[in-house]
Amino acid sequence: MENTSTPVNITINGRELKVDEGTSILQAARQHGIYIPTLCHHEALSDYGGCRLCVVEIDGAPKLSASCVTPVRSGMTVVTENERITESRRTIVEFLFAERNHNCMFCPRSGNCELQRLAYELKMDHLTVSFSYKKFPSDITSPYMAMDHNRCILCGRCVRACTEIAGSHVLAFHHRGPKTMIGMDLQEERSHSTCLNCGVCLQVCPTGAIYNRLRSHYFVKGREHVCEKITTFCPLCGLMCPTDLLISNNQLIQVDGHLSRANGQPNQGQLCCKGRFQVFRSPAGRLLHPLVRKEDGDWVVANWQEALFLTVEKMKAIQVQKGEKALFGLASPMLPMEELILFRELMEKGLNAGYLDTFDGQHFRNLKGTFYGGAIPIRETSWKQVGKSDFILIAGGNPETSQPLLQSIFRRRFMETELRTGLISSLDDVPSFVTDFIHVPSNHLAELLRALLAEVDHLCKKEKQAGKTIGSSGSFPLLAGMGISRDAKSAFTSIARSIAEAENPLVIVDTSLTGMADSNSLNGVIDLARRITPSSKSEPNLLILKPEGNSAGAWKTGMVAQKVPDQADCLKGGLLLMGDESSMGEDILARIHAAEFLAVITPYAHKFLMDRAHVLIPKPTWLEADGTYMSLDGLEQLFRKKTIAPPEGVWATREILSAMGEQIDLKVSSKQEGLFKKRSDPLV
């Protein structure tokens, strides 16, 4: 809506107000602290005028009007509350209760439900109409969310959120009249639909129709007055989305994004499946006491001092026996900076470990092995550029695995601005937002990128010579022998043209490319990014996706080994492993399986570790500890406060590492700030 600044005089409940033209009555009332109840309205979504709960009386008209969709008019007199209006609102709520199954006592949303709150507010102590008892199906095919259509009031918030925020267009109204239902795609079940399980519909649902299947429903009902809301951010990927966590009795009840049309984030408060649901999943059980393996292979519960003492002693013994370089340290890039720095100090200074690495160290080394990472540092732009760029080229693969949220941004931007997105990949996984896809075998990727660069150069030169007419290119011969299809050739032309025409294109390097030790391809893609960046910019239009939440932070601590020792793919000596992961990837397991002595600091009792490790030391999860994290572009450092208390008796990670350090007379430095590299320094 266009915002003209002419003020309009209106009267609401006898108060004369000056509001901007074009605002709705509801907005005007809210701006001036006048309460109007709403149900289908959501501040982050477009207005719909469906529920009629926000009805007001305008100029004494016999018909009440929905205030959310009625714009203010000069001289208008509005009454928001009188007997007739309250009666109308109560009747609507009664109808909603009567229409489907709204028996609060078996709904997980009770206590935190907007429909219920309105019923209380309107003093609906009984129903004057009878219930319909019409049966609707439930969709419990998704492991994350269940949808019970019997609790749905058809406010359409989920439909609008799915379209306007997630950019997915999965949810829609199906059928008509009393048979109306919210449906997925063409009446699919959620698991068979194109739903990304981002859960934005769950967040905006005012009733218990869409609910989280993973959180405990037995322990507490989500009553607002017993829940604490903690504003923090999600450290599970480098985007560090701001979140609100609902906590009750030291249990996480819900993760909400800061949904707002103007919160400065390109994602508008959208969260992904990982951020919203993964925290509820812990496939492995929690480790609550330190465990030490006895000679006969059985686990015994040890006390803390005992377990930590044993670990350090064993490490030292291995060092004496096998020489200087027989100790290894491996840490997860999900951990906050403070824990990583302490870990590094303990291993490097205290135990003189031969090799220190993070789970994602290979990505760092591959980048370091490029021409740029070696000679010239690689600079990156802010990830928020994804919300501003007019063409995006992704090299490597689907960014869904590492940064799932990006696809929502791309989808929405495709709908809003017809954003074109190119993907060059050796994999067949093509996300739906991609407009131009080139499938190329990984051994030809570098050549293809060179050809693309040549084509872009060619087009730009042509553009300069002949005004705006861009002709076809001479770089097709370069493509010969790469085994790419005719479709891919036209995609190639289209991508090159889009890059040449775009004013602010962005190159995104996916983790599947940085994970491959192919410095030519990486060089090629960085070359391309530098080529397309306007010379006025100090940072190239390049964004390198990082595999884990605090990868950028971990790389900045300098703890990633520059070189891998020969046997390191299969570490054999004493190994101290520290991680927050609730499940560990095959690649990590392959690296640790041959360790002679394996001590693990982890919150979870993984099956693999239960089989292989020698000492298991519990630690708090990321929810249960504070720490500093770095966004994936390395440009932002965010401090995250502890959200819930760790299980009783579990030491904080810093206490664990300090206690181990004290045993070897290592004074762990309290001043950690100095260890962080300067913010502006490039990561690689």
């Binding site: 102590d125 129903l127 219930f131």
Partner: protein, 180 residues
């Protein structure tokens, strides 16, 4: 004039509302001093033709023909009818069966349940027949006071009784209404 007389009935419900009533603690003694409790599950005095009472209290929804009779009798004998709890007010958790045909419900309960061997659906002149659906009390008789909640808090029950004893028909303020 003697003390006001109260009758309470427990229909299709879990007795939770009566438990909440007993949970009034010392307030219960005050209230019992002021009233005469006649027919009630608490006194175990059963007379479903009911004496004339000033206040009839109903807990539970109406699920069978007997319960239908009881509420009709009570309405005739009581000056004021108060419904306690979600079951009496809305139908409550018993209405779960309203989404399933009655024959299927009986079949599941008496024949196909896992612990049943050679089960039959009982039919006898003395066994009240199940209604097709569980219904709220106010859909059968006129109700004067509604106290929703599952169960209503003792404070809410105390409030409503005190109001009635003081000669007012209570209407719950918004913060006293809850459905769970």
């Amino acid at each position: 004039m003697g003390k006001p007389k109260i009758a309470t009935v427990w229909l299709e419900g879990c007795a939770g509302c009566h438990m909440s009533f007993l949970d009034l603690d010392e307030v219960l003694i005050d209230i019992l001093h002021q009233v005469e409790l006649t027919v009630s599950p608490v006194t175990d005095y059963k007379d479903y033709c009911f004496p004339k009472v000033d206040l009839g209290i109903i807990e539970g929804g109406i699920g069978n023909e007997e319960q239908l009779e009881i509420v009709r009798h009570l309405r005739r004998q009581a000056k004021i009818i108060m419904t306690w709890g979600d079951c009496a007010v809305f139908g409550g958790i018993n209405t779960l069966r309203n989404w399933i045909p009655k024959t299927e419900v009986l079949e599941r309960g008496y024949v196909t349940s896992e612990s049943t061997v050679n089960g039959v659906v009982p039919i006898h002149a003395e066994i009240p027949r199940l209604l097709d659906q569980v219904i709220a009390v106010n859909h059968v008789i006129a109700v004067d006071v509604y106290i929703p909640g599952c169960p209503p808090d003792p404070e809410v029950i105390a409030y409503s009784l005190t109001e009635i004893l003081n000669g007012r028909l209570p209407v719950l303020p918004g913060e006293m209404i809850h459905f769970d």
